[in-house]
Symmetry: C2
Subunit: 145 residues, 2 copies
DNA sequence: CTTGACCCTATAGTAGCTTCAGGGTGTGAA
DNA sequence: TTCACACCCTGAAGCTACTATAGGGTCAAG
């Protein structure tokens, strides 16, 4: 299987595969005399493992760890669990801060209910006033709520 | 006011200020004979404007646009509103996808209720099986829900 | 006249790819 | 056979928004 076919089967870009190989996440395949990479089904498994972890937002460094645990399964379950726990925590924090952000943006958006020109844009006014240290609707709502 | 004082007043790093100047977000200040940057209160306003926008997750490219509207306020309120609307939409999408991600991670986590060794780690097993194309608890819960 | 806190520039590093430049390979058709 | 075209290769640069590092200059106090 050539790299383009592997990419199609796994649903990723050719460049991504080469990148994972360079980063030593994917074991290097055999090469044809012309230098073409030739993959087998085990490579598809490896690649899917990486892509699946990536779709869960797991970093390449963490995936490297997981792959090591996979290769040497005598220990480390506890570490795997902790890795996922840490990850859940950080995703949760991201969700919380983005939700706050969304609220702040909506408050800001309401400052300009109908469009006129920039001189009278409530959004721009709010941003400029905040820069002058006068407090802002968006971040003040955080305290008052 | 020297760069260190400005940084302290605005609550950012000195390097960040120099970076914004290089990116033409901040107007270049006068220099002392020795080459030191000397800032005035208007610079603090500019910098606070940028930092406040950044705290709302607005990109530097978008801040550049907003600063342009601020400089030439004859038009463009509608564009400002649209910029914020687009931004709210993208933040909202991020929140949604991260919430889904958190759910998936929690499903995955439950596959390993108690630690033993990696060979029996439900998390690792789930990830490996998913890579073999057998379907996974984490992403299948998406469909079943 | 030296110490230490500050300032300067230019460059490289971060994450996870994507894109580009500049070239080779392999196959089907004219 | 020779051409076109799709695919493959490498190495380097680009993306975001900074942060860090190297190597040096300035200034006030003691
Ligand atoms: Zn407006
Ligand atoms: Zn605000
Ligand atoms: Zn486990
Ligand atoms: Zn899954």
């Amino acid at each position: 299987m050539l790299i383009g076919e592997l990419a199609k089967m796994a649903g990723c870009e050719v460049e991504t595969i080469r990148y994972y190989e360079k980063e030593k996440l994917l074991t290097a395949p055999d090469r044809s005399p012309a230098g073409y990479r030739h993959y087998r089904s085990e490579h598809l498994g490896e690649l899917n493992f990486i892509l699946h972890c990536r779709s869960l937002g797991i970093s390449l460094a963490e995936i490297r760890q997981l792959a090591d645990f996979r290769a040497d399964p005598t220990l480390a379950c506890e570490e795997i669990n902790q890795l996922i726990d840490r990850h859940i925590k950080s995703v949760h924090q991201q969700v919380e801060s983005l939700r706050l952000l969304e609220q702040q943006l909506q408050v800001l958006r309401q400052r300009c209910p109908q469009a006129s020109d920039a001189a009278h844009c409530g959004i721009l006014q709010t941003l400029v006033q905040a820069a002058e240290g006068e407090g802002c609707a968006c971040h003040d709502s955080e305290r008052s709520s």
